[in-house]
Structures are given as C-alpha cells and as structure tokens.
C-alpha cells in the first residue's frame, strides 16, 4: 500500500461514486432503525469533498485528508458528519509529514481514527454503529504484515455480517433492541464502501 496525493484523491473520488450510487440504499437502511437520511448525508458530503479536492492543489497526503475532514465536518451535519470528520482529521494528523503513506503508518492512523470516533460519539464496539466497521478493519491492519486489499475486504465483509447480527442496545430505541437484529447499520455500511473504494485504489498499486 502506497497512498500518495494522487491516490488519496482517487480514493475520495471512488468513495464519492459509491456514495452516489448507494445513496438510496443507505437511506433505506437508515429508515427502519434511524431517520432515513444517511445516504443523503453521505452523498452530499462526499460530493462536496470531491469538489473541494478538484479545486485545490496538494503537496501532502495529510493536507488532502485534512480538507476531507473539514469538508465532511462542515457539509454533512447529523451524527455522521462530525464522526467521519473526526476520523479523517485523526488520520490526517497521524500521517502528517509523510510523502506517501505506507501500510504501517496507515494502520497506526486507523487506530487513531477509531479512538477519535469512540471519543466523539461516546460509544464503543458492539453497539451497532460505524465503529463496528472501522474497528475490525483497523484491527486487521495491525496484524498481518503482508496485508493486501483482499484481506481488508475480507475483514470488512466479516464485519458486515456481524454488525447485522448485533442487537442495538445502548444506541437504539428500546422497541428495536430485538428488532434491530437482522438490520444493517447504515453508518457501518457507508464505512464499508469507503474501504471498498480504498481497496480498489490500492489494488491499482500492484
């Protein structure tokens, strides 16, 4: 994995394409156990991200990711805006100074991102939120040194399966405690697409 400025921008462009394509799906996922706006929020936010990145010249990956963070923070709103914003801000800070971001550094940055989301949202693993996608992906990164995009997607896929089976306890309406089982969490799914886009870009490396 070698994330330079170009590839980082490409990652965001591919993410945006996915969010636009999956807008309705994410919104529909947010209806039974949320308020039905997650796809709208993600589509709006990443479109603004791409607009911003296309308008700007970057010398550093960190600078790209900081603009991603600030754009998401100022254009999304809701719960996901500050949470995604925090995640990217943490990643940006962690990779500051690096010309290209290698796997080890990215793994470290992901740990920061997960901690940032947890702190901001006062939540943790197992509560059926985007954390249950960010966290297992981050963990997978820490372990294997010959980690490849296919491994990341395997972890992501596994997380998708388990998040579905989670019972929303803390973060959910009492009524949905049991009913939430079987439902996917929209934030976990949008995170899945974010990393799917990364995998696509990363695969292009080889």
């Amino acid at each position: 994995m070698e994330l330079d400025v170009l590839k980082t921008v490409e990652w965001m462009e591919q993410t945006n394409e996915k969010m636009q394509a999956k807008k309705d799906e994410l919104t529909t996922l947010d209806q039974p156990i949320g308020d039905g706006d997650h796809g709208i929020n993600m589509a709006r936010g990443f479109q603004e991200v791409v607009n911003k990145l296309n308008d700007t010249e970057y010398n550093e990956v960190s600078a790209v990711l900081k603009d991603v963070a600030m754009t998401l923070m100022s254009k999304v709103g809701g719960a996901s805006g500050p949470l995604y914003g925090t995640a990217f801000l943490k990643i940006s800070t962690a990779v500051k100074g690096a010309g290209t971001v290698e796997r080890d550094l990215f793994a470290k940055a992901l740990t920061e991102a997960v901690n940032g989301i947890k702190q901001r949202g006062k939540a943790t693993e197992g509560e059926k939120t985007m954390i249950d996608m960010w966290s297992p992906i981050s963990e997978a990164f820490q372990q294997a040194s010959d980690f490849r995009p296919e491994d990341m997607m395997e972890a992501a896929q596994a997380a998708l399966e388990s998040v579905k089976e989670l019972e929303a306890t803390k973060g959910r309406a009492a009524y949905f405690k049991e009913k939430s089982v079987g439902h996917l969490d929209p934030g976990a799914v949008s995170t899945f697409y974010l990393f799917e886009a990364l995998a696509d870009v990363w695969k292009g490396d080889n």
Binding site: T27, Q31, P32, I33, G34, D35, G36, D37, G39, I40, N41, R44, M73, S74, K75, V76, G77, G78, A79, S80, G81, P82, L83, R120, G121, K122, A123, A168, T169, K170, G171, R172, A173, A174, Y175, F176
Partner: protein
C-alpha cells in the same frame, strides 16, 4: 411523495428564504448559512440565545426567534443537525459580550455539532454555556441518543431561558433556569403515520391502517410499541400516566401543559386529547396554570401528537408569561 416544494435538495434553503421574507423587519439570514438571526442582534447587555437542529420541525426553530425568546436559530438539512461552522456563525452573530447560551436537543448529531461549535467559539474567546434537553420519557436510550431524546419540551426551554435573557439575566442565571426547566419537563408522543423526508421520497416507516406507534420521536424514528389504534382518551391516559410516573408532581402543584401536533393531525384532535389530559390532571389534584395547543415541534407531515407537562414554580411562572414577539409563541 406529495409535497409543495421545488427541488427536494433546495427545500431547506427555500424554506429559510421564505421565512425571512415573511418577517423582513425582524430577522435576517446570516450570509452563506441557514442561520436566521434577529435583526437587532447582538443586543447590548443581553446573553445571546441559540437554538437549532435539523429541519422538518417547523415552526421550530426559527419561529421562536424574537424579543423574549431566541436570538438565532440554525437550521440543518431535514432531520440532520447543522454543522459546527454554521452554529459557530450563529453564536458569533449574537454574542454581545455577555456570553451565548445554546439550547440543544439530546440527539447524537445535535450534541456533537453544537458542542464542536461551542469549542470553536470558546477558542475565539466567546463564553458559551448550554443545556441539553431530554424530556422524552418514552425511551431511556434511542436510535440517536445516549439518554433520553429532546422533543417538544424544548419549546418551554426556549420560552423561559429567552425570558430570563431578555430580562438581563447573566449567562449562568440563564443556564440555571434552563436547567431547572429541563429537570421539570417531561413529554411523550405517539403517531398514526410517518412523514417523508423530501430528499428520501418515501415515508420513514409504514403503519397499517389500524396501527399506531407509541413513544415516537420527532425524526420518524421508531417508538417503543406498535399496537392497534386506541381511542383519544386511552392514548391521552397512556401518555400522561407515563409522564407522571416519571416526575414527582403532586396534589396542589402547578403545571403548564402542551398538547403538540406532529404535523398532519387536525387541531380538533389535539383538543380532544386535551379534554382527557385536563381531566386526568384534575383528578390528581394537579393545577394547570397554562395550556398550549397546536403545532410547536413537528415531524414533517407526521400524524400524531405529543403531550408535555412542565412542573412550575414561582420563578418559572412569570418567565413563561413574559412577553414574546416570536411568531410561533406570542405572548
């Protein structure tokens, strides 16, 4: 989806423009934001009062702007909290050096975005205090919160904190009285149908023709129980009982009551609910000092209602009755 709108993605912008166009002498839009602000803000010697949240709750929040209530209301997209930079602009627009007070409803999104704005404002040297409203007794934790949600009781927080600020109360005095309202206000709601987010194009949930949902929030998020439609009296009894189970209001105490329509329920039905609520309170020896009936905190075109009870004391009563020029809460 049947709506009187132009572009669904422009609905909030169009709404905010239309609101400002209705009261051009009183309010204006902060440039490049969806924040509506009193034209005379910042007001010398007065604590600035900020509220806001996702759109779709009209007349909340801009309808509560005016002398005696809010100074600024920051609108987000429908059911989506506004972003920190917009809230920050709102805070800056109403700070007259006496500090700024934020009224936040307890939803993860609102709390995160408003708190970030508060941090940014403090970094710019503005004194900020806040209250997190959590009046909904239906659920201890919801789809969107840790702890209770904030719903229609927020209107009483606007009114009373607004009156305190207008009367020259200091930032800590405003906070104190807002905290008191939050400690003494409880609400619960129910729905017969759900609303449709314009950009989503389909209803948040579907109920059968004979079903209602109890313990609903104001974002189309699910309640605590789905069951066959009951009579107005039964509904009023269930909601009021749950509220009174949760708060210590006894014989001889005085309260304010708000029977709030969620968007599509005719006022006729709110009056029918009120008939029973008043009877229940009377039976318990609770004195109703003021009753408010109408649409105060809606959820798009949701059919349904919520009941709010605020336990009053001699400090809160005059503040509730103080003058207000807000279009949605004139006194």
């Amino acid at each position: 989806m049947k709506k009187i709108i132009n572009d669904p993605n422009q609905a909030v912008q169009d709404m905010v423009n239309g609101f400002v166009a209705a009261y051009p002498d009183k309010v204006t839009l902060i440039p490049e934001t969806l924040a509506v602000v009193r034209k005379d803000a910042p007001i010398t010697g007065k604590v600035g009062l900020v509220s806001g949240g996702g759109s779709g709750h009209e007349p909340a929040h801009a309808g509560y702007i005016g002398k005696g209530m809010l100074d600024v209301a920051v609108a987000g997209e429908v059911f989506t909290s506004p972003t920190p930079d917009q809230v920050l602009e709102g805070i800056k627009a109403v700070d007259a050096g006496e500090g700024v007070f934020l009224v936040i409803k307890n939803y993860t999104g609102d709390v995160l975005n408003f708190e970030m704005a508060a941090e940014l404002a403090e970094a710019e040297g503005i004194q900020v205090e806040k209250v997190i409203v959590n009046d909904d007794v239906a659920v201890e934790d919801s789809s969107f919160t840790t702890g209770r949600r904030g719903i229609a009781g927020t209107v009483f927080v606007h009114k009373i904190a607004g009156a305190k600020a207008e009367a020259g109360g200091s930032l800590s005095e405003v906070k104190q009285v807002a905290d008191k309202v939050v400690a003494n206000v409880r609400s619960m709601g129910m729905a017969l149908t759900s609303g449709t987010v314009p950009a989503a194009g389909k209803p948040g949930f579907q109920l059968e023709d004979n079903e209602m949902e109890i313990g609903i929030g104001i974002h189309g998020e699910p309640g605590i129980e789905r069951k066959p439609i009951a009579s107005a009296d039964t509904i009023a009894q269930e909601l009021t009982d749950r509220i009174l189970d949760d708060i210590d209001i006894s014989n001889g105490n005085e309260v304010a009551v708000l029977i709030n329509g969620l968007g599509a329920t005719p006022e006729m039905e709110l009056y029918i609910v009120n008939q029973k609520v008043q009877a229940i309170l009377r039976d318990r020896g609770i004195e109703v000092y003021r009753t408010y009936i109408g649409e105060y905190m809606t959820s798009l075109e949701m059919a349904g209602c919520s009941i709010t009870v605020l336990h009053l004391d001699d400090e809160l009563k005059p503040l509730l009755d103080a003058p207000s020029e807000a279009p949605a809460f004139r006194r």
